[in-house]
Symmetry: C2
């Protein structure tokens, strides 16, 4: 027996102009718009604010969100919400803005510190209306029951999982992807690939999540390279937006695995991009997981567009790993943790903490701290 939940989705060119109307439909009168400087500079906060005005809603802006958003920022965001008398939240941005919006919503409805909600199903009171406008084709947070927030004291990314965190409406406008740099397109796209593969091999995968994961992987494998290649390839942007959405639906309901558990831990300590860490870790984690479900890794190879005729499942799985590595090379992603500035000295502590991340529970192969450390060592250089 399993569950599948998702928000209402509005998808398509120009949908960003619907954000305000969506909030109004949910009963809002004064919206907190959560975003970051990069999104503001790219000009995507304006159409959201304009849509609020057109819907007759008051709007207050909160833009103090960093790349790996923290408990302190979430608390400040919640404070702004309360001080301004807001009754709904629109987040416009990547996973950072959306996860901050969710965390602030959890705080205004439930009080306390965001640390109180770390883990699974600890948010009890329902949240205010949440409308999410993703701008990166990466995090999938616009449809997921996840929020990942840095605990600034423990320097650790907390994974908060709760059905309450599923937004009410996800407004996905592929046009916003045209302002992304190739670098950002690559790193967020590799996050999509990691979501799709980890949720597909997750021990919590179901027929409903498999459908989404497989479609997401096939789309991303085909359209990530052309999307990195050109800002103006509209088809590639639209397909990557759909891949991100479907991968989000998959991992929201099937959870993830060791790559994300380790990536959250590293991202809590070092200012690296989430997608970069995933890109480096993913092939190593796939190698480790291969014996758990070679037949699933064969499907991964197929979905990546590889020819696996006459190969055993094991050999096909190895081809899937090579395929992921080739993709990272093609789009200029970092290939080792060392080149990102990660040092071997951090490995023992990172390994211990990674074991406690909620994503580790659904990894298809049981893993020890020593095995995590071995994977990190292999990923180092």
């Amino acid at each position: 027996m399993y569950k599948f939940v998702m928000p209402e989705v509005i998808f398509g060119s120009g949908s960003i102009y619907q954000a305000g109307e969506c909030c109004k439909r949910l009963g809002a009168r004064h919206v907190l718009v959560v975003t970051d400087r990069g999104v503001m500079d790219a000009g995507w906060t304006d159409p959201v604010l304009e849509s609020c005005r057109k819907a007759g809603l008051a709007a207050t802006l909160f833009h103090e969100v960093s790349v790996n958003p923290t408990d302190v920022e979430a608390a400040a965001c919640a404070e702004t919400y309360k001080e301004s008398g807001c009754d709904a939240i629109i987040a416009v941005g990547g996973g950072s803005a959306i996860d901050s919006g969710k965390a602030a919503a959890a705080l205004v409805a439930n009080g306390g510190h965001i640390r109180d909600y770390e883990g699974v199903d600890r948010i009890l009171s329902p949240l205010p209306p949440l409308v999410m406008v993703p701008t990166t084709a990466g995090s999938g947070s616009e449809v997921s029951q996840f929020s990942v927030i840095v605990d600034s004291v423990r320097q650790k990314k907390m994974t908060i999982v709760s059905k309450s965190l599923v937004p009410d409406i996800a407004v996905i406008d592929p046009d916003v992807l045209a302002t992304k740099s190739a670098r950002l397109t690559a790193t967020t796209g590799l996050d999509v690939i990691t979501h799709a593969i980890e949720s597909f091999v997750s021990i919590a995968a179901t027929p409903m999540t498999d459908v989404q994961a497989k479609n997401a992987l096939a789309l991303a494998a085909r359209f990530l390279r052309p999307s990195v290649a050109s800002k103006y390839n509209k088809e590639a942007k639209e397909k990557m937006a759909m891949a991100s959405l479907q991968a989000g639906l998959a991992f929201s309901n099937a959870i993830l695995g060791a790559a994300h558990a380790m990536s959250h831990t590293i991202g809590g300590r070092f200012p690296f991009l989430h997608g970069d860490i995933n890109a480096v870790l993913l092939p190593h984690v796939m190698e480790f997981n291969l014996i758990a479900c070679p037949e699933k890794f064969r499907e991964v190879a197929l979905l990546m567009g590889e020819n696996v005729t006459r190969l055993s499942d094991r050999e096909a799985g190895e081809k899937a790993i090579q395929s992921v590595k080739k993709l990272a090379v093609d789009i200029g992603a970092p290939l080792t943790l060392a080149e990102m500035g990660f040092h071997a000295s951090a490995i023992p502590e990172i390994s211990e903490i990674a074991l406690t991340d909620a994503c580790m529970i659904t990894n298809p192969r049981d893993i020890s701290a020593a095995e995590v450390a071995a994977l990190l060592t292999r990923a180092l250089a």
Copy 2:
């Protein structure tokens, strides 16, 4: 730009015992359980009532639902809800019980006659919590924004489409399918096939609905025959439950076509089974629609398991039509309207009324009353 909405889904063996708890989670205290005699006799109302007791909820039973449920029944159901002081609805049954539960919910929250809500988006006030427990692997109504109710004055099935009609939670337990007769399994399964094909070729189809429609069709094409063949084939039951769910998600968001528009009209006048009418009409409608999107009908053939190598799209589409006919023959469905008791004299009036059904709008080929009449004549014998 398009929308996609679906309820929370709970899927799997034994999930029927969660129905009460689901209602409690939505804030209910006194549930109206809507069902019909056949479902009660099969014993599936009991676990739902028991789950309400276990969740500490009061429960009132309403079982006056007929095969093609009417406005009069819906009004009586709403009356029972109000008289008993209910605050939530669980429907357990096929499309008849679920559509009645939805119609009653619309009435208790919005007043008036159910006729007032015929067409698209006419229900304004939000409905009470709705938990749907389908028992047929057919209607898909447990996840859809549709309710189809007979107007007893006009002797016409009204198609009511509104996002408010999407239930809160669909509880899908494949175990309940073990008590269905082969006859009922066949007719409801052909409804699933019709949902999948009509939503796939609908002019409102989107990448999100295509994913669901294609999976539904592939599953139903493979597992409907074995499901009809044996009550005890658990795998076939589970796959048909999933096919029904996915076809429901597809047509709820992409709407249907001429087969359903005509089937609703005939079903409002004659006491035929909905799936039977669809089964007879579908190949004729496919033939008519073939020129609108032959490449999509090629995919239909592929999903039905046909070999279309070296065939043109048009030829492959013809193979799809043959494949649907073969399936109907194999599982003993009626093949003509005449054998069901339909007379040519009804054709002119049925043709006019069918044109006004909401499902006609998304048919991939424009259609006139004369063309509907020609299709009905061809389907007659």
